[in-house]
Symmetry: C2
Subunit: 335 residues, 2 copies
């Protein structure tokens, strides 16, 4: 284990052995994956996502149970939520905050965190705020964030549209410079494109204290992603993903206009990617096509939620193996 | 000087003391800037761009004159061209190839390089091919490229549209893995977002042998960019750029549909960025507005060609200072 990794301010803040956080991917980062990441020395963030309290309660329970005999790992368990959705219904957030053992951290992304942050910070729970532009940074720090996650447009799933978003490579050092000048006590994680030890080491070289990892941990045995979807991602290269609103329309998700969604650019995506207005105006047949694809695990129609880093994923491994391999490879750069 | 930098295969191939190449930016990378980069130990690529033979001849002459008493630095002078434009008129390329002292390298970008590459390679001139997707990589290697430049969408100026393009952070390691398996003798440079020593070190951590640097060397005293334009870039943050076809329409450039252009998102860009069809259909008034802006050095209308890395540029320094600072800072990561 490289000292540089274990001594990162982010790792020390949460008692981790490696400066990695599991991205709280809605419907993929369940209790089993979060627990596996915590056991491997990372921060395990359950993907509370759209805020179904039953889902969050069940998955949080699975993780707590899996870690019941390992109090150190249990202290590395947290949860992430979609900010704009929590403003509509925060019962899942309240469930997590009201547990006897408080979460290691709550992560918020996609919206102004200020109001929700007050409750989180008042309870002494560390707040992690994911941002997509420099313009969002002062607000997140003012809200009381202990950790900023800078998410580049290469990330899978939701993020800022390419036209307004940032790339990890320039976003991380620009955030790092701002934090060094204005909020040096706040840690920084890179998100978007970190899928191996080179990525973790590069992110830290650019000024991050660690990385929030999505796609690479999505494609693991403990993930709630279907094996057949993971197999598609393993085959795919980084050229094979695209950002658009296609899958949000097909999934009938009401996302704010500035965000869209990166996934594999499958046949259904290609069919609609240049006809979004038409799809929005009359989505019924396409939604039926998509739902049939999901039911049949036909990934020419169903979405496979990975980012550009999918080109660096060559197997469906265990989360433990993934975190160990990333940590080992990154550590070699800092010897 | 860190051994890791001077011993990079790319640096050794060209006898450089630092693994940096000046991006051959059309109308910015003139003879003075290319000569300054070569003197500082980097590869100085003149921006032959659209292939005006008079411009290339003049700027190449300026560089050769500036390096006339320094044969080692003179051997680090090359030129870059826009592939699709050379297919229309290759006289500027032929001028460079026919010089008594052959160029250190010719770089081609934006189009299938195969045909032009034959002449370049047959003369023993090292070929550098810039690519924007993994799909372009086998073709570039087959064409005889000694060096691949992987350009991410965060780069300033022309590049692949965001919808099809790649980000530096994932593109570099994916190219590196492919080259290691299929063409280990070919070197790799990262382009797009490398603006300081953190970026150079991160690019090398991701698997590159060095970096092709545009914006940071555009904003130098030796650049042909106007001081007033550089002042705008120094003030700007990385959120302040955008990719689109706006400036190509205003400049009446006939670029292939897959490419567009990143620059500061100024008032004229904002006016048209969501109305490209309208602008294409009736561009006259907007072109007049743009040309008046250029004539007046009014950068609310004229384009300022920088990438997302502009947020990491805080002064208009000399190219020598820039290369020394990047090399020093990157070297510290490899001690």
């Amino acid at each position: 284990m490289s000292d540089r990794l274990a001594n990162s301010p982010f790792a020390k803040r949460f008692g981790l052995t490696t400066p990695i956080a599991l991205a709280p991917m809605a419907l993929a980062s369940g209790g089993e994956l979060a627990a596996a990441c915590a056991k491997a020395g990372a921060l395990g963030l359950i993907g509370g996502g759209y805020g179904d309290p039953g889902w969050t309660q069940r998955e949080y329970g699975i993780a707590a149970q899996a870690l019941s005999t390992q109090p150190e790992a249990a202290a590395q368990l947290g949860c992430g939520f979609i900010t704009w959705r929590m403003k509509e219904d925060r019962s899942a957030l309240d469930y997590v905050l009201d547990r006897e053992r408080p979460p290691a951290a709550i992560m918020l992304s996609f919206g102004d965190p200020s109001e929700l942050a007050r409750d989180i910070v008042a309870r002494g729970v560390p707040l992690i705020c994911q941002i997509q532009t420099m313009a969002q940074l002062p607000q997140a720090v003012d809200a009381g964030a202990s950790v900023i996650v800078g998410q580049g447009v290469e990330a899978g799933g939701h993020g800022m549209k390419s036209a307004q978003g940032r790339s990890t490579f320039t976003f991380v050092p620009e955030i790092a410079d701002w934090l060094a000048a204005h909020a040096p006590h706040v840690d920084l994680l890179a998100a978007g494109g970190v899928a191996d030890g080179r990525g973790l080491a590069a992110a830290m070289t650019l000024g991050a204290d660690g990385a929030l990892i999505g796609s690479r941990l999505w494609a693991t045995q403990e993930s709630l992603a279907a094996d057949a979807a993971i197999a598609e991602a393993v085959q795919a290269g980084g050229d094979d993903t695209a950002r658009s609103g296609v899958f949000d329309i097909l999934r009938e998700k009401n996302w704010p206009a500035e965000y869209d969604f990166r996934a594999l650019r499958n046949a259904l995506h290609r069919k609609w990617e240049n006809r979004l207005d038409e799809l929005r105006a009359d989505p019924e047949a396409a939604i039926a096509d998509y739902k049939a694809g999901v039911a049949a695990q036909d990934y020419s129609r169903a979405h496979v939620t990975v980012g550009e880093g999918t080109g660096l994923i060559s197997e469906n491994a265990s989360a433990t193996q993934v975190i160990e391999a990333i940590t080992y490879q990154a550590g070699n750069f800092f010897r």
